[in-house]
């Protein structure tokens, strides 16, 4: 199984950019990295995914360096409503091995 590591928590203020990094070893060239957001008493919700370089959508960007040993979720101009736990997911072994990170609790303050 791939091993994934994330910071336990991060603090930020409204309007700032937040970068959350997930370290992952043992992933193949085309294995995808996916990020999810989870609010209390809810299931995780998809944010963004990619397998190389940079991906951007309307809510976030995902940066994956060439060595693919880590990935960084970037949230531009966070607001109070972005306070949540963020998880990275790595899928390896041809889709049969799923490893979630332990999650990063992001707290956004005024």
């Amino acid at each position: 199984l791939a091993k994934t590591t994330q910071p336990i928590s991060m603090d930020s203020y409204e309007g700032q950019e937040v970068n959350i990094t997930c370290s992952h070893n043992n992933i193949a060239t085309n294995d995808y990295i996916t990020w999810y957001q989870q609010f209390p008493s809810q299931g995780p919700r998809f944010i963004i995914q990619g397998y190389k370089t940079k991906v951007t959508n309307e809510v976030a960007s995902l940066f994956i360096p060439a060595d693919r040993k880590s990935s960084t979720l970037s949230l531009p101009r966070v607001s109070l409503s972005d306070t949540a736990v963020y998880y990275c997911l790595v899928v390896t072994g041809g889709g049969n091995k799923l490893t979630f990170g332990t999650g990063t609790q992001l707290k956004v303050e005024l």
Binding site: T34, Y36, Q49, L89, F100
Partner: protein, 115 residues
């Protein structure tokens, strides 16, 4: 369109009792998954299914059984509940994926306490 629905939402069991958690999805997804979530440990895969009639073990399968008799339903069973199985259980579904490139859709969880 309800997405992924889990029943029940809460349950308290005594050690040794059995129960079944039901997951239903209305998105015609091939893949379905059962996870448990414990403090400080993220989500860990218990079992998954890549299609009707198929199941496979995940990272922490011991003490659980699953069945996928219909494409839209995935059942998780605890034959003899133990306090270590106290957790929040999440079901998810996705389209067919080999490289992990299909996002998973999650239910809102079942909170299970075993005394």
């Amino acid at each position: 369109n309800a997405g992924v629905t889990q029943t029940p939402k809460f349950r308290v069991l005594k050690t040794g009792q059995s129960m079944t958690l039901l997951c239903a999805q209305d998105m015609n997804h091939e893949y379905m998954y059962w996870y448990r979530q414990d403090p400080g440990m993220g989500l860990r895969l218990i079992h998954y299914s890549v299609g009707e009639g198929t199941t496979a073990k995940g990272e922490v399968p011991d003490g659980y059984n699953v069945s996928r008799l219909k494409k839209q339903n995935f059942l998780l069973g605890l034959e003899s509940a133990a306090p270590s199985q106290t957790s929040v259980y999440f079901c998810a579904s996705s389209y067919t994926t080999v490289r992990g490139n299909q996002p998973q859709h999650f239910g809102d969880g079942t909170r299970l306490s075993i005394l």
